[in-house]
């Protein structure tokens, strides 16, 4: 699956799509592969504050629980309600319908410090190499 060129990425495998000062956040295709079948998603309510580098929610597969870290600080303006009933959207469309939350960022420029798609693809290639060594 291609990594959208207009997204930014974290080392913890979250993606960010910035429009204005609102960041849409999700987990990457690599992350959903690592997790396996997603069965449960927990994200904060609208109005909650998230802080860069701190965990704001969890995504669970049958086997594992994964914390999700905020790529930047801000206030949640929307949560993806669809995931309550169909958490598997994270597996089938991680970069689209499987988004987690939208956050109004305190400082949108923070996103620029994250990896772009090319850097992220190089990063996961090095991770996979390590894992199969």
């Amino acid at each position: 699956m291609a990594y959208p060129a207009n997204y930014r990425y974290t080392k913890e495998h979250e993606w960010v799509e910035l429009s204005g000062d609102v960041a849409k956040i999700g987990i990457t295709d690599y992350a959903q592969h690592e997790l396996g079948d997603v069965v449960f998603v927990e994200v904060p309510r609208v109005g909650a504050k998230v802080e860069a580098g701190k965990t704001f929610g969890t995504v669970e597969s049958v086997k594992a629980v994964s914390d999700i870290y905020a790529p930047a600080s801000g206030e949640v303006v929307e949560a993806n309600e669809v995931l309550h009933g169909t958490p598997e959207k994270i597996n089938t469309d991680p970069h689209g319908e499987g988004w987690l939350i939208k956050v109004k960022l305190a400082n949108p420029a923070d996103v620029n410090s994250l990896m772009d798609a090319t850097a992220y693809e190089a990063y996961i290639a090095s991770q996979s190499k390590e894992a199969s060594a």
């Binding site: 913890e12 495998h13 979250e14 987990i27 992350a31 592969h33 690592e34 997790l35 396996g36 079948d37 069965v39 449960f40 927990e42 969890t58 995504v59 669970e60 597969s61 049958v62 086997k63 594992a64 629980v65 994964s66 914390d67 999700i68 870290y69 991770q127 390590e130 894992a131 199969s132 060594a133």
Partner: protein, 395 residues
């Protein structure tokens, strides 16, 4: 998110089928020091594997399990006496060709390990033990059989152990052996030619709560891969898929089968674990018996129950259990979504007064206390076949 794949450690032990798992693109994890497949995403992953076993058939590499043979020394009966001393079930009741679930206990009545005891011959037994406890178990067996006239052999590395599990397991395996499988009852075994390999141990055992077989073949890579491939080929018409430890865990959890380090351990005794029916107090003395006598007289302080989540949330291993007031009362030993029941289920130790079906139990999931309730176990019981193998005859 954080990566969930355990990075490989160079000194991890590998089964003879390691290269097969990697070729199949399995997600590998460190399981008790073994580099083992947890699931095979390319063929559907954990949930598909779980469902394949419940509805048709799946193939597991369980070669990490250990095997200890105890047979006669100079005088007949020495091996039986040793097995009786070492384990809590009554091995004198086993016919040749029969196996049963049992456990080795510490003098405190807690678990060294749970084992399947097979009676191979007149005074000849095979104990199948867990991977993570192999060294401890073999040391324990050697140490505690010193006073008995028997020979202890560790055969763990001699076998590749494959588990063919599911309602179509017999149909599949029958194509690969001339041994008649239909008459083999649950927890019985035979020896026969499988994939051209003479005298192969074929046991109607497993760890999935489903019908199935476990076969023991020579552990060299060529033979192991040959058998694996033939089973997969022979299972194609039944849509067989390879299954990993992830599905093995959810399958055994639905069937309430204990896992060492979770439901049973060196801190938990037989009564607490609810394994009374495999513990034969009247068979004569055995290691742990005296402590179990005392524990029985003293009464239980905790008991293992099945839980089903009422609130949204998944109880996981080691999460804390509370009562309605928020006081800690126990702990989850295993918890997971159940692919068969589509519910979130768990096993937990709670006070004996809270074991009645319907009792509310609260599970601390991160910052929230989520409601669960005690339910009857096993969570899943396989449907009876038209011609049912006589189950539990060995209990």
């Amino acid at each position: 998110m954080e990566s969930v794949t355990t990075p490989p450690i160079t000194d991890l032990r590998k089964t003879a089928l390691n290269a097969v798992h990697r070729r199949l693109g399995a997600k590998m994890v460190n399981f008790g020091g073994w580099d083992m497949p947890v699931e095979y995403p390319a063929t559907g992953g954990l949930v598909a594997e779980h469902k394949a076993v419940r509805s048709s058939v799946g193939l597991f590499d369980v070669s990490h399990m250990g095997d200890i043979r105890i047979h006669s020394g100079r005088t007949p009966g020495g091996a039986l006496a040793a097995v009786q001393h070492l384990s809590m079930n009554d091995a004198s009741k086993l016919a040749i060709g029969q196996a049963h679930y049992s456990a080795m206990l510490y003098p405190q009545g807690t678990f060294v390990d749970d084992v399947i005891v097979h009676r191979l011959g007149e005074d000849d037994y095979l104990l199948v033990i867990n991977a993570g406890t192999r060294e401890k178990d073999i040391d324990w067996v050697r140490e505690n059989t010193k006073g008995f006239d028997c020979v202890v052999e560790e055969l763990s590395d001699a076998y590749t152990q494959l588990a063919i599990q599911g309602p179509r397991a017999q149909d599949l395996l029958q194509k690969l052996t001339e041994a008649d499988l239909a008459p083999i009852k649950n927890y019985w075994f035979t020896h026969g030619t499988v994939c051209g390999l003479k005298n192969t141990l074929i046991a109607r055992t497993g760890y999935t709560g489903e019908d199935g077989f476990e076969i023991y073949v020579p552990s060299d890579v060529a033979t192991s891969e040959m058998v694996w491939n033939k089973v997969m080929e022979s299972g194609r018409e039944f849509s067989i898929i390879p299954c990993g430890l992830g599905a093995r865990n959810t399958l055994r959890l639905e069937s309430k089968m204990a896992l060492y380090g979770h439901e049973i351990s060196d801190k938990i005794n037989v009564w607490e674990a609810g394994l009374d029916r495999y513990c034969k107090m009247d068979k004569g003395d055995f290691i742990g018996r005296a402590a179990l006598e005392r524990a029985k007289a003293a009464g239980l302080t905790r008991a293992l129950v099945g839980l089903e989540m009422v609130d949204r949330g998944i109880a996981r291993d080691e999460y804390c259990c509370c009562d309605e007031n928020g006081s800690a009362i126990g702990v989850i030993t295993s918890g997971s979504p159940s692919p068969t029941l589509c519910k979130n289920i768990a096993l937990a130790y709670v006070p004996p007064a809270m074991t009645a079906v319907g009792t509310p139990i609260y599970v601390q999931i991160r910052t929230q206390k989520c409601k669960a309730q005690v339910v009857a176990t096993p969570f899943y019981k396989r449907p009876k076949k038209a011609v049912a193998p006589q189950a539990a005859a060995s209990v």
